[in-house]
Amino acid sequence: MMRLIRMLVRVFAEAGVGFIRSGWLNVVIVSILMSTLIVFGIMLQFSLSLKKVANNLLGSQSVFSIHLNESAKPQEVMTRLKRYKEVTNTRLISREEAWQEVNKLVQIDLDESLNNMPNTIVVTVKRPLDAPILIQKINAWQSEIEHISYAPNMVKKLNVVKNLLIILGTFISILLAIATFVINLNTIELVIRARKDELSLLRFMGVTNWFIKGPFVLQGILYGLIGSIAAGCILLLIDGIARYNWQKIAMEQFGLIELFWPSSGELSQILLILTLSGISFSSASSFWATERRLSI
């Protein structure tokens, strides 16, 4: 048992020696791996944010807004709406109230004559399924209605954006991943070639397979660990800066930040995924290099 522990310690020491001997190549590998993981992390963060927004909007499927024409009488429209048994609540946002909200948002007192906001009725139905049916019926009141806002349309658009981002991010990640894999593979192969005589000597001396191959795989794990830690730090920094600026600009007024920003728990999950993918990825390429170049 002690002998095995001593061997393990020496495999780790050999990995450290190999890492030091690789010199500047280490910086190249770690940088590329880090870039890959950052792109991957940003992609994960974006898709997670968009998913949250979509889910929030889907959650409000029982609510839609009717923007009225100038000629329409809001109270009459509300009375007609209340006749439908699916409708549980109606709320009028007058054009004056809407104008006040705009003024509050831009923090300037604009002239009332510029107000082109419509009267809006926010309708709540019993079940999300009722909304599309009711909207179809209301659409027939063409003379009074300017436009109906319904969340699922937005959700569809968000899903399209989210899917595009995932495809783009996956594509970039795959390209960078292939680059990392090839560079890591070549580096380890270069190290093996440079130490070819030494390694063949070791195998002829009867040194075990894993004592020879192990340090190279460990070197790969080390690359993965350093690359993912660096990528994680940069992602946290980006997250911190973006969150600060986001709040600073405007959204804190509406409390929307928590709506779609990944929580600290979700961020930890992303970092864990990054670390695991970084380690497994670079150790796999190192393992492959040893399998290709080290026939024991």
């Binding site: 002690m2 002998r3 001593r6 005589d197 002829f204 009867g206 040194v207």
Partner: protein
């Protein structure tokens, strides 16, 4: 005991390296393998430590058929190897070069100290243990190579042209050292060389020519020569 039965080795280009080689080397015997370059000496040694495969025949080392081995490491751990260029690790000093295999086998530092000092003592380099190998002469480097080969106390020692890079005086010293090791440690030794003076050591000599054994002489059959030191 090392046994070879009708061993043949042919390369993919059709070139024959060994032809119908049969040998029996008992435990503890010291054998010189002589012959011109390309006679098949190195190939025969490489077959024994599984650096090359043979095309047909049978090779037994200590009753183990080596063609059936999947993992060569246990076999190789029973064999000490000495190369022409000594093949030392340049980044390590004398002590660490000799200790490397012990460390790879998980030996304790106490055991390493004891064994390495013992091996360096046998080759007469105990006082140079902290020196880097680049600072040693050719003969000294080869002694380090021998110390590394014997440090695990393997039952078999194979040396491929161990004096190929050495001057005549150092060559003789190395051969004397081999004889001393053989007598003290009782290791089975096969030494490939084309140095004709090995006759003077009064050991078994197997001569290869055209990939075949052309002479196999036991010590008793050898004519008496002048003392080795007088050469």
């Amino acid at each position: 005991m090392i046994e070879l039965y009708r061993v043949n080795k042919e390369y993919s280009n059709g070139q024959t390296a060994l032809k119908d080689i049969s040998l029996h080397i008992p435990m503890g015997q010291m054998v010189f393998l002589i012959g011109e370059s390309g006679a098949g000496k190195s190939t025969l040694l490489k077959i024994l430590y599984k650096a090359e495969e043979f095309s047909s025949g049978r090779v037994l080392i200590g009753r183990v058929d080596i063609s059936r081995l999947v993992d060569y490491s246990p076999l190789r751990r029973k064999i000490g190897l000495i190369f022409q260029d000594s093949s030392l690790l340049p980044q390590l000093n004398v002590f660490d070069n000799v200790a490397y295999i012990l460390r790879a086998q998980g030996a304790s530092e106490r055991e390493i100290q004891y064994r390495v000092e013992g091996a360096l003592n046998v080759v007469g380099l105990l006082d140079r243990s902290k020196d880097m190998t680049q600072h040693l002469s050719g003969g000294e480097r080869q002694r380090v190579g021998i110390a590394r080969a014997i440090v695990t106390n393997p039952p078999i020692l194979l040396a491929d042209e161990p004096t190929g890079n050495l001057d005549p005086v150092n060559s003789l010293k190395i051969f004397q050292l081999f004889r001393e090791i053989n007598e003290k440690l009782k290791m089975t030794m096969i030494i490939a060389t084309h140095d004709p003076r090995v006759h003077q050591l009064k050991k078994r000599i197997i001569q290869l020519g055209n990939s075949q054994i052309i002479m196999d002489t036991e010590p008793s059959e050898l004519p008496m020569f002048r003392s080795l030191t007088a050469v």
